[in-house]
């Protein structure tokens, strides 16, 4: 069964966001998403300093099957990318909410997080 932690917020396009409470947040892709994509072999992350509007494509995760865009779940400026994924992209599979995080951001509009799905709503979307 997929894990969908209740302390995170989600976008329909399968990104999760962890609000760090100081105007920053961490972004990754969900457990159901990594399971559907399969074994990760390459992750292309945004450079720190890049700014994105909510919903804009900002990263690519490539599994052995296919390449998939990752969308900015909230409007933001990237402050750090997870360098560990360069050599170990499989962390996205093995620990999607922990060591497999993708990037950290400075929020442009903290209010946008409230507009994202909570875990129950996201889980319900997976059952459709």
């Amino acid at each position: 069964m997929s894990e969908i932690p209740s302390e995170l917020r989600y976008r329909e396009s399968h990104e999760w966001v962890r609000d760090e409470g100081n105007g920053t947040a961490v972004v990754g892709i969900s457990d159901p998403a990594q399971a559907a994509l399969g074994d990760m072999v390459f992750v292309e992350l945004p450079e720190p300093g890049m700014s994105y509007s909510q919903g804009e494509a900002c990263a690519v995760v490539e599994s052995v099957k296919a390449a998939s865009d990752v969308y900015a779940p909230v409007s933001c400026e990237v402050i750090e990318a997870n360098g560990a994924l360069e050599d170990n992209p499989e962390l996205v599979n093995t620990d999607p909410y922990g060591e497999g995080w993708l990037f950290k951001v400075q929020l442009t509009d903290a209010g946008e997080i409230d507009g994202l799905l909570n875990s129950e709503a996201y889980a319900a979307q997976q059952d459709d």
Binding site: D39, E62, A67
Partner: protein, 361 residues
């Protein structure tokens, strides 16, 4: 969607099922990478029952296939002997690719692609009409491919004792019928092993016995990365009705030395005369990234395109097959998401028997 006789076995093994040409087939049983390595290092098995088995019977079987196939059935003289061949259109484009087994003078067996079943059978019927032959499709057979360095020994362990000595002597690209089970020493992975045609009634029990021997189920995902590493073409991707074998890395499968007439020969002769414009090559990406089908190739001789591409689990690099201008040298660039990344041009295969081929890694 159609299901094979092993459908329940796949679900029991935790398969993720997908639609493949109208068949509900396992794409993986958890990890495509693990399944890939399993076949390179030990033994894995694939349900490929969606493929079409067609027998051609009749006194003019050899004459019919001599006209139909780009490879020359005159090469097949020993019962059980097989080869790989294309069926061509008059235009020289590839109608389908297949394995042909010579059983006896009145009987050849063809195994053709699932995705091209309807047009392939129609083609056989149409061109067979002029010959004294009969075309029979076998729905009652399942196909299990057991592949890997330990594959043959694992299969021998589940076969009757008297069959084992016969199987032990079976040469590559030949087949034998043991106890009503058709065992061919062929495959689509670059490893040793068998492709086994067995009654749908026996398939599940046979699959379970192989499981007990430690043969792991592998999905179509691993099958694709294995065949790509082995430099084997996939019909519909690496060649289509628009491509001749000469631009698809398949000139070795076309027998044109003597004056045998076969469908598509004239078009191939004309293409040779005019100059074959392109060739299918292997690519190894130098930097980070993943090659995929349909990416643009930039060379000094002009543009090309990748036809298959993936991350190679054995080489830990991105590899591809690509159609490039004939005059292309040993380097090119691949356009990936707007960036141009350097790649080396190599001669497939990339991997054979678990190891990188010379000049690849």
């Amino acid at each position: 969607m159609r299901r094979t006789s092993l459908y329940d076995s796949h679900l029991a093994a935790g398969a993720r099922m997908v639609d493949f040409g109208g068949w509900e087939m396992p794409i993986n049983y958890g990890s495509q990478l693990d399944e890939h390595h399993q076949v390179r290092t030990a033994a894995g098995m694939f349900d490929v029952s969606h493929m079409t088995v067609v027998d051609i019977h009749g006194p003019e079987t050899r004459a019919f296939l001599s006209n139909l196939l780009a490879n020359d059935v005159a090469k097949l003289t020993t019962p059980g002997q097989a080869f790989y061949s294309c069926m061509l259109k008059e235009s020289g484009g590839v109608m389908d690719d297949l394995i042909a087994y010579f059983m006896n003078e009145d009987w050849f067996r063809l195994v053709v692609n699932a995705t091209t079943r309807d047009k392939g059978l129609a083609w056989l019927e149409r061109h067979g009409a002029e010959f004294s032959i009969a075309v029979t499709e076998h729905h009652e057979l399942s196909i299990i491919a057991v592949q890997g360095p330990e594959a043959r020994q694992k299969v021998h362990a589940v076969m009757p004792a008297q069959a084992v000595s016969e199987l032990a002597q079976l040469k590559p690209f030949s087949a034998v019928d043991v106890d009503g089970i058709f065992v061919a020493r062929t495959g689509y992975t670059g490893e040793d092993g068998y492709e086994i045609l067995i009654s749908v009634l026996q398939a599940e029990a046979f699959w379970d016995r192989l499981l007990e021997q430690g043969v792991k189920p592998c999905g179509l995902g691993a099958r694709d990365t294995l065949r790509l590493e082995a430099g084997m073409n996939l019909y519909g991707q690496d060649m289509t009705e628009e491509d001749t074998p000469l631009v698809s890395g398949l000139a070795w499968t076309v027998a044109m030395r003597d004056d045998r007439e076969f469908i598509g020969r004239k078009a191939l002769e004309k293409q040779k005369m005019d100059g074959v414009p392109a060739r299918l090559v292997g690519l190894v990406l130098e930097g980070r990234g993943v090659l995929r089908p349909g990416q643009k190739i930039i060379t000094e001789a002009g543009e090309g395109v990748t036809t298959s591409g993936s991350f190679s689990p054995t080489l830990q690099k991105a590899i591809a097959l690509a159609r490039v201008p004939a005059a292309t040298g040993d380097r090119c660039e691949v356009e990936i998401r707007g960036k141009h990344l350097p790649a080396r041009i190599v001669k497939p295969p990339f991997v054979r028997k678990g190891k990188a081929c010379e000049g690849i890694a």
